[in-house]
Symmetry: C2
Subunit: 152 residues, 2 copies
DNA sequence: TAGTTCTACCTAATTAAATAAGGTGATGAC
DNA sequence: GTCATCACCTTATTTAATTAGGTAGAACTA
């Protein structure tokens, strides 16, 4: 589905999505119209979901982050999900198996703000929280190649 | 630190970082050189950490994701951290307070692969895993404005 | 107060990039 | 063997980014 050239293009774009077609073309040994066509197809196929910018939460005043495990009380699952959707402080949120709950990231400016946010869902779910101070260790996209199993 | 125009520019760029300067300029009511200058400064200040692409893990064959809680055995914290850094299947990873451990995302192609990865750190840490099937509910950057507390 | 500096913006000209148009050669289907 | 199709190419055109130089207003200084 993805060939080696596609993977190389994606690798470069993950690092800097403003890399020009000319530069991309040189690096993979194609002409720029060919690269443009490949990128267009990667987008069409949904491989590239978006061109975006990564923003430093600290620059916006979010000096604290928290990973929250939210287990909705019986019958409240959809209500809780709606709540989460509506609160901008929630970053990525995953519904996980096993203990049937959500695991979400919260961006906050203080412990106080965190408490207030958790209060909002307190009567609809059980929560447990782990605080992350300052910057996460690592943020990365899925691997493109050369995984521990090397079966791309 | 960030004024309203900056926030509006960031909002547009989060949605599509290829938006042209001309288009950005029109939307916020500036000229394109002014917008270019603002973006340059946002990058210099570290507010914009990177221009990047968001890639669909499924398109790369990662049909499964897992959130893993990793609690290193006494004295093994740095070894575990090094291990995580070296395994490409690990996505974002946070060191969290409270129970003194890591919370990380793993991209895998099968439960078998997940087991093999966890085996690698089994003698150095305790782990507990929650599986995410298919797509996460939501992935989002920190809020730019209009938070639950509206104190930007 | 008058002069100076700084900042954030502008317009116009230049340079660079993306796109569109049209062509070639290899591969596979009928 | 002919005809499509595909992925690529080059060249020309269009569009975008950058550079250079200038202006108005705020704050700073003598």
């Amino acid at each position: 589905m993805l060939d080696d050239l596609d993977r190389r293009l994606l690798e470069i774009l993950i690092k800097d999505s403003r890399t020009s077609l000319k530069e991309l073309a040189q690096q993979v040994g194609l002409s720029s119209p060919s690269v443009a066509e490949r990128l267009r197809r990667l987008e069409d196929r949904g491989v590239i979901r978006a061109f975006t910018v990564e923003i430093d939460p600290q620059a916006l005043g979010y000096t604290l982050q928290a990973i929250v495990r939210i287990r909705p009380l019986p019958g409240k699952l959809h209500i809780v999900q709606k709540l989460i959707e509506g609160i901008p402080e929630f970053g990525e949120c995953d519904k996980v198996t096993g203990d049937d709950c959500f695991v979400a990231r919260l961006f906050v400016r203080s412990i106080g703000d965190l408490d207030k946010l958790l209060d909002r869902i307190a009567d609809k779910a059980e929560t447990s929280t782990a605080i992350i101070k300052a910057q996460p260790i690592r943020r990365r996209p899925p691997p493109l190649a050369a995984t521990a199993f090397s079966n791309p």
